[in-house]
């Protein structure tokens, strides 16, 4: 029989991994379509948490309403982000410039600049300390489950993530919008030639990805009871790591790697202090890059 302590750590790691997965999907969707890294994704997560917080303190609505409002806000943020930081740099639509380095670098820097403005703006408005949350909304009431104690947040996060992932998978494979996203990510120019509105598809992708990021933000905020302007940085990097490990353009790969990261961090904290647990993620990343440069689940890429 396994020591219940390890089961406990596994449960913690799993819910952490699910959060990383929600973030990683947004990264991967956007990377798949535009071939660029969206550095502002962590700030979408933070902003999602803050929108939820403001909404809770203003109206005190039920939990599900908060979640839906945050998701809607996340979608709006995605659209806005695309308009501000990505659209102005997509002046040309031929394939060479869509995949070109100049575009990639400039959007990378512009999303970074937007993320700095968002984070510093939040710090200016709210201060850098943690915000206080109404106690009723925290999702950390314990549930005894045999030898393991989990909290309601674990269940909620897991359920929400499962619904979102299932919905996304359904959308990507069964609906016209999802097919358009996959077409654009496979071949932007070809998609344009067969009559797909690439601009709209890209906006849809941003809305979807940011929705998941913002949802993850408010869930984590309520789970830990900690909402502060810099909260998006570490999950953002972990999600980035998961995306690279999963092979950059594979959503299932990113999800599996995110879960793997969460679990290994959860287990690592039993052996080493939690300060060093971050090393596990970075170590994984380096090892993956050196030995499996295409990612663990990536399709064959030309060069890495």
């Amino acid at each position: 029989m396994i020591d219940p302590y390890y089961l406990q750590q596994l449960a913690i790691g799993l819910s952490q991994g699910v959060i990383y997965a929600l973030m990683a999907i947004g990264f991967t969707l956007i990377f798949g379509v535009l071939n660029v890294v969206n550095f502002a994704h962590g700030e979408v997560y933070t902003l999602g948490a803050f929108v939820g917080l403001l909404f809770i303190t203003a109206f005190a609505p039920p939990f599900l309403v908060v979640l839906f409002v945050v998701l809607a806000a996340g979608a709006a943020m995605g659209v806005g982000l695309e308009r501000i930081a990505f659209k102005p740099f997509r002046r040309f639509s031929d394939e060479a410039s869509l995949k070109s380095r100049a575009m990639r670098e400039s959007t990378l820097m512009s999303s970074l600049a937007v993320s700095i403005v968002a984070r510093e703006g939040l710090e200016f408005a709210f201060g850098s300390q943690m915000q206080t949350l109404p106690f009723d909304y925290l999702i950390n009431k314990p549930i005894e489950l045999g030898p393991v104690t989990i909290v309601t947040g674990d269940v909620i996060i897991f359920a929400v993530a499962a619904i979102m992932l299932g919905g996304l998978q359904y959308m990507l494979t069964r609906t016209r919008a999802g097919l358009a996203i996959r077409a654009v990510s496979a071949n932007p120019l070809g998609a344009k030639y067969v009559g797909i509105d690439t601009d709209r598809t890209i906006i849809t992708t941003f809305a979807l990805g940011s929705m998941m990021g913002a949802g993850a933000g408010i869930l984590v905020g309520l789970y830990y009871g900690a909402i502060f302007p810099a909260m998006g940085f570490v999950p953002g990097i972990k999600a980035f790591v998961a995306m690279v490990m999963g092979g950059l353009s594979s959503i299932p790969g990113a999800v599996v790697c995110a879960l793997l990261l969460g679990l290994s961090e959860g287990l690592a904290t039993t052996f080493i202090s939690s300060n060093w647990a971050d090393m596990v993620a970075y170590g994984f990343l380096i090892v993956t890059l050196i030995f499996f440069p295409q990612g663990l689940f990536g399709a064959g890429r030309e060069r890495v």
Binding site: L112, F240, Y282, G283
Partner: protein
């Protein structure tokens, strides 16, 4: 135009006059320690941006962990100064060499990666080094940082006056930037640019790309380490927070705002991004927002930066005279 002006000497002399004459005079006139600190900071970040320019601007490798090597240099200098009682004379070269050695070891496995994979690898390396600085309490004192009281001691002369410290920093930074300038504006620099434009083609032409990448990464880390030592000795305090991801991004922003691929651009970018928050001090906490906005609008409206590579190279080409031949100067050189 006379030969003298054509070789770009006027600009260089003006810059040297500014750094060694005008600024110290103004500083001595103002006489406040705070201004000296800002001036030293500008110089140190100019060196950091110039060293990153070699990797990211010239060789086209997106490096997201530069601050970590800067941090290694600062910690080596500070720890040698406090624990081993070895002063500035030993600390400065040691800081550069240790950072370079680290970079060399790290570079061996990662330098075969290209584009975004390289960027991610350097990001992870930077974060790992920062985690070690933060958590290896036995050596680095952890989040408390290291205090360094000894000050700069040059061959028995203890330099206490802020003006003297400024001159030491200015001389060292100018020498380092001169070396970086020679590296980037020479046939070696052209080899680096060939790496950036098309590394497969460069490989086919007989350029040893992997070796070149390792070399340039190591050289750049050496100068980052030197900058770290200067930082440790001018502020007297190092803490892990100064060497995190945001510092790496700040340095990257400097070379992007100044003009990717141009050494003068990198230095101008450093000056702008360090002085701007100080000038905007009146805005209080909003000044960091302003930095982000400046970055955003400079990318949007000046994609080539304040002082782009084309103008920088044509300046140097004039300096080289006929040696570089009559290459058409209106050809686009840059990040394709």
């Amino acid at each position: 135009m006379s030969d003298f002006a054509r070789k770009g000497w006027i600009g260089k002399i003006l810059v040297l006059l500014l750094v060694f004459g005008l600024v110290p005079a103004a500083l001595a006139f103002a006489g406040k320690g705070y201004f000296f600190q800002v001036a030293n900071l500008v110089l140190i970040f100019a060196l950091l941006a110039a060293s990153l320019h070699l990797v990211t601007g010239a060789a086209g490798l997106l490096h997201l962990g530069h601050a970590a090597f800067y941090g290694i240099g600062a910690y080596v200098a500070a720890l040698m100064g406090t624990d081993l009682k070895l002063g500035f004379i030993w600390g400065l070269p040691a800081a550069g060499l240790v950072a370079a050695a680290f970079a060399f070891v790290v570079a061996l496995p990662t330098m075969r990666l290209v584009s975004i994979y390289f960027a991610v690898a350097t990001l992870a390396i930077g974060q790992m080094i920062n985690t070690v600085l933060l958590n290896w309490v036995a050596v680095t004192k952890g989040p408390n940082g290291v205090m360094l009281f000894s000050g700069i001691n040059l061959f028995g002369f203890a330099l206490k006056a802020p003006l003297a410290v400024y001159f030491v920093v200015a001389v060292l930074v100018s020498l380092s930037i001169f070396v970086l300038h020679r590296l980037s504006h020479s046939y070696y620099g052209n080899a680096l640019r060939s790496l950036r434009e098309d590394d497969q083609c460069a490989d086919a032409m007989g350029v040893n790309t992997v070796r070149l990448k390792i070399e340039v990464f190591t050289i750049s880390a050496f100068f980052a380490g030197v900058a770290g030592a200067l930082w440790a000795y001018t502020t007297g305090y190092v803490s892990p927070n100064d060497f995190g991801f945001s510092t790496s991004i700040l340095i990257l922003a400097m070379i992007v705002v100044g003009g990717l691929g141009s050494l003068p651009g990198a230095i101008i970018g450093a000056v702008v991004l360090i002085l701007l928050p100080e000038l905007l001090r009146g805005l209080g906490d909003l000044r960091n927002v302003m930095v982000g906005l400046v970055m955003f609008f400079s990318i949007l409206f000046m994609p080539k930066g304040l002082f782009g590579e084309v103008s920088a190279l044509s300046l140097v080409r004039r300096g080289f005279g006929l040696k570089w031949g009559a290459a058409p100067s209106n050809r686009e050189v840059g990040w394709q």
